[in-house]
Structures are given as structure tokens and as C-alpha cells.
């Protein structure tokens, strides 16, 4: 066991670092530090805003998206982010808090975005997810449907789908489902 320690001491001399003496206090976890880093590198456009119910808890926050183009323009969409201590090994859990008419978001708010599940990698960051979410409103994807009716609607009748999106965003009823009003 002695040899390890002499290695340690050599490393110490090389690095010439000094650690604080005294009792050990509260530590910053790897997940928290990574989220802090991701957040401090976020470059949010004016169409997106974060909200932290508790600024001391950066692992739980809300994001709102207000698309300025595309068929969801004029709406304000809210998402919750729940990040575990296993981040970045595990993707954050992202849900839409409103009931909206979208082929890739179901009525419960589940989001079908590849990097939130099957394609998540620890090298990806929060910015990638946020960009991905914004993209869903610009280019809803009918080939990966979570809301089958909406996807079929988009595929078969794009103009009709657009009308249904507008009416759902105003709090209207589409295919027997009443949606939440999301217009600003």
C-alpha cells in the first residue's frame, strides 16, 4: 500500500496543488456541476425562456417556447425538465404541461424526441434538447408519431392539419378532444 502513497505524493509535488484543511463540508455533485455548466452555456433565443421555481434547485426547471414561425406561431408552450443525479448518464425527463395537438407530443405531454430516449448520449447537453424541442414546433414529424390521429392528419391533409392546430391552440375541440388554450 505504501507505493500508492508515494505515487500520490509525487503527483502532489508535480501539481503543486493545495487542498483546504479542516473539516469537509457540503460538496457539489458531478450532476449539479454538469447542469450548471450546461446552463451557463445556454444561448436562448428570444423565443425561449426558462423559469426556476427554486433557483437553488437547478435540476428542476420549466421552459417556455414561443415559436415565431411555422404553424405553431403565436402559441406559448410549457415544458418541465426533471434531471436526476445520474445526469449526464441519463437523459433529463421532459414533459409538456399542456394538452396540445401535435404529432410528436401525446395528450399526456410525453415527447417523442430521439435524443430524450434512444439516442441520448452523455456528450449531448441541455442546449441540444432545447434546440430539439424548438424544432418539433417548426417541423412536426408525421413519420414518428406519438399522437397517431394528429400524424395521420398531417400526412393526409396538411392544410386541414394546420387549421386543426390553430383551433386546438385557441382552446378548441379537434377529433373529440378539447385542447388547452395556448395563445399568448
Amino acid at each position: 500500500m505504501l507505493k500508492i502513497w508515494s505515487m500520490k505524493q509525487k503527483q502532489q509535488q508535480d501539481a503543486n496543488a493545495d487542498a483546504a484543511a479542516g473539516t469537509r463540508k457540503k460538496k457539489v455533485t458531478a450532476a449539479q456541476l454538469r447542469v450548471q455548466k450546461d446552463l451557463s452555456e445556454l444561448a436562448l433565443p428570444s423565443t425561449m425562456k426558462t423559469e426556476f421555481p427554486d433557483p437553488d434547485d437547478i435540476l428542476n426547471f420549466n421552459l417556455s417556447i414561443e415559436p415565431d414561425e411555422g404553424m405553431y406561431k403565436g402559441g406559448r408552450f410549457h415544458f418541465t425538465f426533471v434531471i436526476s443525479q445520474n445526469f449526464p448518464h441519463e437523459a433529463p425527463k421532459v414533459k409538456c404541461t399542456q394538452k396540445i395537438y401535435h404529432p410528436n407530443i401525446d395528450l399526456e405531454g410525453n415527447v417523442c424526441l430521439n435524443i430524450l430516449r434512444e439516442d441520448w448520449k452523455p456528450v449531448l447537453n441541455l442546449n441540444a434538447i432545447i434546440v430539439g424541442l424548438q424544432f418539433l414546433f417548426l417541423e412536426p414529424n408525421a413519420s414518428d408519431p406519438l399522437n397517431k390521429e394528429a400524424a395521420e392528419d398531417l400526412r393526409s391533409n396538411r392544410e386541414g392539419f394546420k387549421r386543426n392546430v390553430r383551433s386546438s391552440m385557441g382552446g378548441g375541440t379537434v377529433k373529440n378532444q378539447t385542447f388547452e388554450r395556448v395563445l399568448k
Partner: protein, 453 residues
């Protein structure tokens, strides 16, 4: 009878029958071999007895843990502690050989300890029926080395960062080698980590294949496999119907609900194969455990522990530190050195000591960081356990801006750790452990006193 043996008995011990148990082990410990390091290997009576004084911590008393406890006890370690929060399930009995049917429902740590103590006379095994997170640094400080037989990455990351933080430059005993075993089906690995010196669990995080996830849309639209139907019930149907307030993976009633949902969906799509046990497996993310893989990996871990403790042979650690094993296609094994990562969030940027006057405001402190040569930060964001100041996103900046005028002493305590990130740093961030250079009297406290007068 109690007379000490004067002749140079080869084996000390309570009785000849007991002593013979260690005979072969003692041959290794008392004779120099081709690989023994003359600087380190010591065949003296005192050195040989050393192993009996070492306290070893085993984390996990499951498939690997049972093997590890047995191996350690039979390798001459006398003081072993084992920690596991789980209770014994009937499905454990096929490979967790320290448990019997009558033990189902009891603590794994306690049953395993009792069994091994009974079988191997003279060994003391102390069980801890709790989470590793329930124990403090003083607890971990008492051990010579730590061996993990875990199935969760989260627990590995926790013990890894705890052992890294434990290292104190002035105390040699604070460095605890960590031996980590892991298996998944026919594959496994054993690795040795010298916290802060060699590549740690966090450095090697990308070596863990993430759990293969199925796109949500596949689950929602066209399931192809029985697992898809179960995942659908687990993720979507449960959320929609909320049959119970919170899903408990260990509650048979909850699993039955999911099983029935999954079965109905499978029938709708003509998919055979949804069973109760498969449902349990998918929901609890049970990885098929193969008893022999566990035995191989545990054996490797315990051999490394023995070599580190006795210096009888070179061990994994300083050079090669990772042994991978695959039994998928006959046998393949490869041992290599996993390099330490400079930007590892756990061991790559150990908290440096930083002297700070607690009477500075946070703004003044941030300005002083910009002047530090190793930092030279332009837009630093700072957090302790609390968020002190974040430059981005805007909402957090606004929420934390009032802290800029507060004094450091009002925001953190002496000895607290802070994390500093800055976009200009690229992939590196800093951790500092604050040392107050003067006493600090909170303004709030002064005001309170004033009010009292």
C-alpha cells in the same frame, strides 16, 4: 496449552485443523516469487499478520457480493463489513448461495454476514442494512479498501466521488483503493481505482453501455416485441390512468396491473410472450444474471484485493486498471489502462483551497476570480449547494443577481465547496473549497442583536 509456540511453526492459528485451511495461502505470503517487488514484499510475521487487521468494506450482498464475501473470508481477511439495503427475494436464491428459502424477506447484508461467519471460523462480518448514502465520511474512513458488487451506476458514482473527496494529502490512510466488479449476462469487468491518482468511475462513465431505449413513438404506435408492450404500460398507460398514486416496482399489485395492461396490448397486436416475470424484468430493469460470470468477476476482484493487501504479486491499479471479460463467444478477456480524464467532473478538478475574505461581496469575489491566473474568467457562474450567481439563462441571472451585493459569509460557510463554470473555459470547470481568512459576523445577526436591545 496456552504456551506460545517456540519452534518456528509455519502457521500460527488456533488449531492445526484450522491452520491447514490457510496453508496454501501462506505459501504465497511467505515466499518470494518471480513477481514480488523486493521493495514492497515482506515475509515477516508482522507483515503476514497485517491482513488480519485490515478492515474491508464490501458494497452489495447480491450476486457478486455473496461471492466476494466468501472469497475474502477464504483469503485470510478477518474484518469485513458489508452494506446492502435490499431484502432477499425468492428469485435471488438460484445464485446468491448464502441465502436459503427461509431467508426470503430478510436483510441480505445480515443473512450473508451470518452465513459466512458460521462457515469460516475466526472471521468477523459486520452487516449494515442501509443505503451507502446513509453512511458518513467517518464510516468510510475506517476501511483499508472497498470492493463493490453493485448493479447500479448511480451507487457506483456516489461511492466513487465519496472516496475521491475522502483523500486528504496529509493522511496516507485516507486513500482507499476501490475495486469495482460488474456483470451483465456473460460479460463483466473488474477494475481497480486509486482515488485521485488513477482514472475513476466518472472518467470511465462512457464504458457503461446505456440501457437500450426504444423510441417512444414505437411504443405508442406499432409495438413489435413483448417488451414494447410492457414499456408502453409502464410509461404511458400508467401515467394516463394512475391506478395507484406512485409506482412501486416491488409491489406485486402494481406489477400485476402493468402485466394485464401489457398483455391486453400484446393481444391487440398479436404479440406473444408477455408474462408476469417478463413484466417484472422490464420494469425493474433486471439484467439476466449468470452465476458463473459473477463467480469469475468476484474472483478477479478478490484476487486484486488480496494482492493489494499483501503485495504478493503485482495488481491492477497504477498501470493496467481495467479487466474486461466476455463469455458471449467462448472467452475473450483484455486488460488495459484506462486513462484519467483531465476534465473529469469528480477527479479531474479536485477542489482547490481558496482563501477568501468572507466580508467581500459576491460581486467583489467574482471580480477577484477574473484576476486569478489559472482561472481568468470572463463570465463565471457560481454555485455552492445553493445557486449563488448564474450568468445564464436570463431568468436565473435575474433571480440570483441580488446575491451579488451580499457578503460571501452570508451565502456560504467556511469550508463549503463551490463550483465555477464559464463558457470561456470550454470543457474544464473549477471547484474551490473556501477558507475564510477572517471571522465573519453576519449583518443579519447584528441586526437581530440590535433589535433585542
Amino acid at each position: 496449552m496456552s504456551q506460545p509456540l517456540m519452534v518456528s511453526a509455519t502457521i500460527p492459528g488456533p488449531s492445526p485443523a484450522m491452520a491447514s485451511r490457510w496453508q496454501y495461502l501462506d505459501n504465497v505470503r511467505r515466499h518470494t516469487g518471480p513477481f514480488t517487488d523486493p521493495d514492497m514484499f515482506d515475509t515477516s510475521e508482522a507483515a503476514v499478520a497485517q491482513i488480519e487487521k485490515m478492515k474491508i468494506l464490501v458494497i452489495g450482498a447480491g450476486g457478486l457480493g455473496c461471492e466476494i464475501l466468501k472469497n475474502l473470508a477464504l483469503s485470510g481477511f478477518k474484518q469485513i463489513h458489508v452494506i446492502d439495503m435490499d431484502t432477499i427475494d425468492v428469485s435471488n436464491l438460484n445464485r446468491q448461495f448464502l441465502f436459503r428459502q427461509s431467508d426470503v424477506g430478510k436483510s441480505k447484508a445480515e443473512c450473508a454476514a451470518k452465513f459466512v461467519e458460521k462457515r469460516v471460523k475466526g472471521v468477523s462480518i459486520t452487516p449494515h442494512n442501509c443505503k451507502i448514502q446513509d453512511k458518513d465520511e467517518d464510516f468510510y474512513m475506517q476501511f483499508t479498501l472497498v470492493i463493490c458488487g453493485l448493479d447500479s451506476i448511480e451507487a457506483r458514482r456516489w461511492i466513487n466521488s465519496t472516496l475521491v473527496d475522502l483523500v486528504d494529502e496529509e493522511n496516507q490512510d485516507s486513500l482507499k483503493p476501490l475495486i469495482d466488479g460488474g456483470t451483465e449476462g456473460f460479460k463483466g469487468q473488474s477494475r481497480v481505482i486509486y482515488p485521485t491518482i488513477t482514472s475513476c468511475i466518472e472518467c470511465q462513465l462512457d464504458m457503461h453501455a446505456p440501457r437500450a431505449a426504444v423510441p417512444l413513438c414505437t411504443l405508442a404506435t406499432i409495438p413489435r416485441q413483448p417488451e414494447h408492450c410492457i414499456e408502453w404500460a409502464h410509461i404511458m398507460a400508467w401515467e394516463q390512468e394512475k391506478p395507484f398514486p406512485k409506482l412501486d416496482n416491488d409491489d406485486p399489485e402494481h406489477i400485476t396491473w402493468l402485466y394485464k395492461k401489457a398483455l391486453a396490448r400484446a393481444q391487440e397486436f398479436n404479440i406473444p410472450g408477455v408474462t408476469y416475470s417478463l413484466t417484472q424484468g422490464v420494469v425493474k430493469n433486471i439484467i439476466p444474471a449468470i452465476a458463473s460470470t459473477n463467480a469469475i468477476i468476484a474472483a478477479s476482484c478478490c484476487n486484486e484485493a488480496f494482492k493489494i493487501a499483501t503485495n504478493t504479486n503485482p495488481s491492477l491499479g497504477a498501470q493496467e486498471n481495467y479487466m474486461m471479460y466476455s463469455g458471449n463467444d467462448s472467452i475473450y478477456t483484455y486488460t488495459f489502462k484506462h486513462e484519467k480524464k483531465d476534465d473529469c467532473p469528480v477527479c479531474g478538478n479536485l477542489a482547490r483551497g481558496l482563501d477568501v475574505d468572507p466580508n467581500l461581496t459576491l460581486q467583489e469575489f467574482i471580480d477577484s476570480l477574473a484576476a486569478r491566473p489559472e482561472a481568468q474568467l470572463k463570465k463565471p457562474s457560481i454555485r455552492a449547494q445553493k445557486t449563488l450567481y448564474m450568468q445564464s439563462p436570463e431568468s436565473l441571472r435575474l433571480q440570483t443577481a441580488p446575491n451579488l451585493d451580499k457578503k460571501i459569509g452570508d451565502l456560504v460557510s467556511n469550508g463549503d465547496e463551490i463550483g465555477v463554470t464559464d463558457p470561456s473555459l470550454g470543457r474544464v470547470d473549477f471547484k474551490y473549497k473556501l477558507r475564510f481568512t477572517s471571522d465573519f459576523v453576519s449583518k443579519d445577526k447584528l441586526t437581530t442583536n440590535g433589535d433585542a436591545n
